[in-house]
């Protein structure tokens, strides 16, 4: 009886609504035609609508002021939408419902790939190459543009900031205290981590410290480097391989399993989010974590703010060297702007993109809004309370443009760390099948590391499942 009813209701609802459906103008499914902006000389007064995830003020009002500041500096009429959460959902909804934005901030390359395949992005090659600002290698090093190229070799985005790399970050003061050197090999690393665990580096008389803590698999890149293994996909002779799922990874997982078994590794490494890992590091509970280069400075600065005489000293460390001398570090996906195909004011967007990479734009993106986040007087620049809380990060903590010098000295340790990133870090290859592959790899890798199953079996399982699902060749 009830089944019949449900069926009836479905049919009725369907028919009622199909009529509504027919009359609905399908703007969403017809190809979006951008209102071709007349090639006017001046963009003054033109509207510019931005959807951003990181760029902008820290609060709703701060955000309005931020948009106003862009308007003032570019002569455009700017609205800046910065959703408080669910950014991915917002972007998706906006794009597919035909909402019009001139600029959208994107922070991962897999998205760029998807946007390319789904007709979202517009070709910016000509714009970038003819732009005085953007084509200048001092503003953005020429090689960097490769990151933002589509499969057809054209440029589809413009950088929003400089993206760093992740690396092992070690307690330099603990090393010094225990008379240890920065490790170069896996065995040295083991000795050091063991010492962090057992020799009471924080001097509180309790064995409450760990050698190493991580959060997620990509954080172990600095250590996996010693076996020459790079995370995600690597193409070998046109074939997709996943180094973390090869036999060469077995001894590495065994090494981690040993750390876990001996209590040297934080046993929460599987459930840790990055915040927890950071907090352990900041509270003297662990001697080494793997995290962003920018955070070396943050760690040192935070501890200094708490206690000016702190012994705490974090330092970025180069990844372990493989037998053949290679060093693998993980570069973060770039943070960049795209101009969607349905952007009503692409010219205004382009004007913004140039502005964003000049000194004024960079000051806005880092320090924030004048008089709100910082003030300028006879003594030069100084940060307000609001500005201090924002930590000189309004979407652009670091930038490419080498002609723009930071107005404040870099936080301790960060320059050295960033130098390492620039020298060694490379992007990971994220193919569209990666999300499915990642599930399999992380699942077994973590099990092997936690000692829940032998590393050999784990890798075998990985390979079997990856092959079966046609995720590797």
């Amino acid at each position: 009886m009830s089944k019949k009813n449900v069926a009836v209701s479905l049919i009725l609802a369907g028919t009622v609504l199909l009529s509504a459906c027919g009359s609905n103008n399908d703007t969403s499914s017809s190809p979006a035609t951008p209102e071709s902006a007349a090639p006017t000389e001046s963009t003054a007064g033109m509207k510019l609508e931005i959807l951003s995830g990181n760029v902008g003020g820290k609060t709703p009002e701060g955000n309005t002021k931020f948009a106003q500041a862009i308007s003032d500096k570019t002569g455009l009429d700017v609205t800046l939408d910065k959703p408080a959460s669910d950014y991915d959902q917002k972007v998706l909804t906006a794009l597919s419902s035909g909402a019009k934005y001139d600029l959208i901030e994107v922070s991962d390359l897999a998205k760029l790939d998807a946007f390319f395949n789904q007709g979202v992005v517009t070709d910016l090659t000509d714009f970038v190459q003819s732009s005085k600002v953007l084509s200048d290698p001092a503003v953005i090093p020429t090689g960097e543009w490769d990151q933002l190229k589509g499969p057809d070799g054209k440029i589809y985005g413009v950088f929003s900031k400089f993206q760093g790399a992740t690396m092992p970050i070690v307690r330099k003061d603990w090393l010094n205290k225990l008379n240890l050197q920065e490790p170069k090999t896996l065995d040295e690393l083991y000795t050091i981590l063991k010492a962090f665990k057992e020799e009471d580096p924080d001097g509180n008389g309790q064995a409450d410290t760990y050698g190493l803590s991580t959060s997620g698999l990509y954080d172990i890149q600095g250590i996996m480097s010693s076996a020459g293994l790079k995370y995600r996909y690597v193409m070998e002779d046109g074939k997709r391989t996943i180094p973390y799922a090869t036999d060469a990874a077995i001894p590495m997982y065994e090494w981690f399993a040993k750390l876990v078994k001996e209590g040297i590794m934080d046993p929460n490494f599987i459930t840790n989010d990055t915040a927890k890992m950071r907090n352990l590091f900041l509270t003297d509970r662990v001697g080494m974590v793997t995290y962003w280069d920018a955070w070396v400075g943050m760690f040192n600065n935070l501890k200094k703010q708490e206690d000016a005489n702190t012994a705490f000293q974090a330092a970025g460390m180069v990844s372990l060297e493989a037998a053949d001398g290679t060093i693998i570090m993980r570069r973060g996906d770039p943070d960049f702007w795209i101009i969607p195909a349905n952007a009503p004011h692409p010219e205004a967007a382009k004007k913004f993109l140039e502005f964003w990479n000049t000194e004024d734009g960079i000051i806005l993106g880092s320090l924030g809004v004048q008089d709100l986040d910082y003030i300028v007087d006879s003594n030069g620049y100084s940060l307000t309370e609001t500005g201090k809380e924002a930590n000189m990060d309004h979407g652009v903590p670091y930038w490419y443009n080498s002609t723009v010098k930071p107005l404040f000295p870099a936080l301790p340790g960060v320059e050295e760390a960033m130098a390492l990133s620039k020298q060694y870090a490379t992007l990971e290859l994220s193919l569209s099948t990666w999300p499915d592959a990642e599930k399999i790899v992380t699942n077994y890798a973590l099990k092997a590391m936690a000692g829940q199953m032998p590393a050999k079996d784990a890798v075998e399982q990985m390979q079997k499942e990856l092959k079966a699902a046609n995720l590797i060749d």
């Binding site: 959902q89 419902s97 907090n279 352990l280 920018a294 903590p397």
Partner: protein, 290 residues
């Protein structure tokens, strides 16, 4: 009944009462601990709040978390918006859902089963699946960037309709019939008899709806861009979201985050006793024994 049996029963009753209370207290403890943890973290200093050892008591007592939230956000406007959306949305929700619930208790109403199915089916729709079309509906009705879109979002729910229907079912239908004979219109019967007798039910739905509306997050994020129209939850969320996924420099200390959470639920805790009065009354009536 002989005295001995009565005494035995009294003794058994007391044992039961003690065990029962112990059970409840134990359960309450499990619920107090997380809450106390949030409070303790909120009242700790920034650095201390990041240490794992804080469980029940704040360390390095400080209201720095609250002052950070307070100084960086002008909460008046978002608070008012939240109140407007929550109050008007809840009233409409309770009224319309009750009305539908009332219709669905009518015996021999042609099409009733269809209507029940119609209502039930709406509850099976996953929000993710209809997010984009829902946005389009709001856009076509020019509701984007209006508080109305938030009032309309979830203005009626199958959940509440079915619950109200259930509460109305416990009112003897003869009352409806005799009121009809007295010449009362159906609408009057609904307001004067049913809404009044099912007061407990109304209070329950009201509480449920109030809470979920107050905590509503995804609708305002999707439908509102204008910073003068955002709700309290969104304002707080914008402040306490930690962009830890990228190499961002931003650090939001745990105390600030917890302070934000506390600020957002205090109004709910404040409203609760008022609504509770209604079902306590009902409860006392129902359970007034021994």
């Amino acid at each position: 009944m002989d005295i001995e049996r009565l005494e035995r029963r009294g003794w058994r009753n007391r044992t039961f009462d003690v065990l029962n209370a112990a059970f409840l207290i134990l359960l309450m403890l499990t619920m107090i601990i997380p809450f106390a943890n949030v409070v303790a973290l909120a009242f700790s200093s920034g650095m201390a709040s990041m240490k794992p050892e804080i469980i029940l008591f704040p360390k390095d007592f400080s209201i720095e978390g609250f002052s950070t939230v307070w100084n960086s956000l002008d909460l008046r406007r978002p608070f008012m918006n939240s109140v407007i959306v929550t109050v008007s949305g809840t009233i409409l929700h309770v009224l319309l859902s009750s009305l539908a619930g009332f219709v669905l208790i009518q015996p021999h109403l042609p099409g009733k089963k269809f209507m029940i199915s119609f209502v039930l089916l709406t509850m099976m729709i996953p929000q993710d699946a209809i997010m984009i079309p829902l946005y389009l509906v709001n856009k076509d009705l020019h509701l984007i960037n209006t508080l109305s879109s938030l009032v309309l979002s979830g203005m009626i729910s199958g959940f509440s309709i079915l619950l109200m229907r259930n509460f109305f079912l416990s009112v003897p239908y003869e009352m409806c019939e005799s009121a009809q004979i007295d010449g009362l219109g159906m609408f009057r019967i609904f307001t004067t008899i049913y809404m009044r007798l099912a007061k407990t039910g109304v209070a329950t739905i009201m509480l449920f709806e109030f809470v979920s509306r107050w905590n509503m997050l995804s609708a305002p994020v999707l439908f509102i861009n204008d910073s003068s129209k955002i709700t309290l939850q969104v304002a707080l969320k914008s402040m306490i979201t930690d962009a830890s996924a990228t190499s961002s420099n931003l650090l939001i200390t745990t105390n600030v985050r917890m302070a934000g959470i506390l600020i957002s639920i205090i109004p709910l805790l404040a409203v609760y006793p008022f609504i509770q009065r209604y079902f306590m009354k009902g409860l006392m009536l129902g359970a007034n024994k021994e």
